[in-house]
Symmetry: C2
Subunit: 107 residues, 2 copies
DNA sequence: TAAATACATGCAGAGAAAGATATATATAGA
DNA sequence: TCTATATATATCTTTCTCTGCATGTATTTA
């Protein structure tokens, strides 16, 4: 039963559209919070909350770089689940509203 | 976003320990409700409720055979997820309290 | 040094959904 | 009639979702 509980927790985290979208974006490339804000169309505090959840579950890693904090997906099990659920990772998004280094550089 | 929503629903169903246990049992072999009752240690109405959920999500198929109703896992995607989460399916359980055909036959 | 940017965190509150349990009834088959 | 199962209802509690807002902190830039 303990094994079921632990796995159920991970499924629980994946059972949310916005978190799923964030994780899908992170498996394409590391991304800062403002990028995830633009991709999901959610307010900053909300995105930070979800990221806090993902950090607490040890699914993502964060690294500060200048003003920005970059997140990346570090859990291999979740990577497999995302692949099974969504197929291979697509190209990174470029929301017009995003001004992060990656997005401005590539536009 | 729609794709995220649909997949999130499936993850949501898997995010529950008892449902996970039921699905794990069903991928080993078809099972009647009384068997799942014995395996999970939950009351009949409760197990039926969860099975109703699984049926509504089209993850399991049910077939009446005499008095019993046998359920089996019919969703390939869920089978893959279970394999990734729990590894290969183990041997079917034989709870002593279960009097279903399979269990009495094999004891 | 001051201001702006990016992010984290906390709190409050409303509404929705989920979990658990109990109970009662209906139905089909042996 | 007995058994196995489905279904419905009700209730209670807990958790989740979302929003809004306020504040703290570190870093960069002016």
């Amino acid at each position: 039963m303990k094994n079921y509980n632990r796995k159920a927790e991970i499924f629980q985290i994946l059972s949310h559209p916005v978190r799923l979208q964030i994780l899908d974006e992170l498996r394409k490339r590391e991304a800062c919070v403002c990028h995830l804000q633009a991709v999901t169309g959610r307010p900053q505090a909300y995105v930070s909350q979800q990221l806090q959840l993902l950090r607490a579950a040890d699914l993502v890693a964060d690294e500060k770089e200048g003003q920005n904090v970059y997140y990346c997906l570090k859990d291999e099990f979740v990577k497999v689940l995302l692949f099974e659920a969504l197929g291979p990772a697509g190209p990174p998004s470029h929301p017009p509203s995003c001004t992060c280094p990656f997005c401005s550089q590539e536009k």
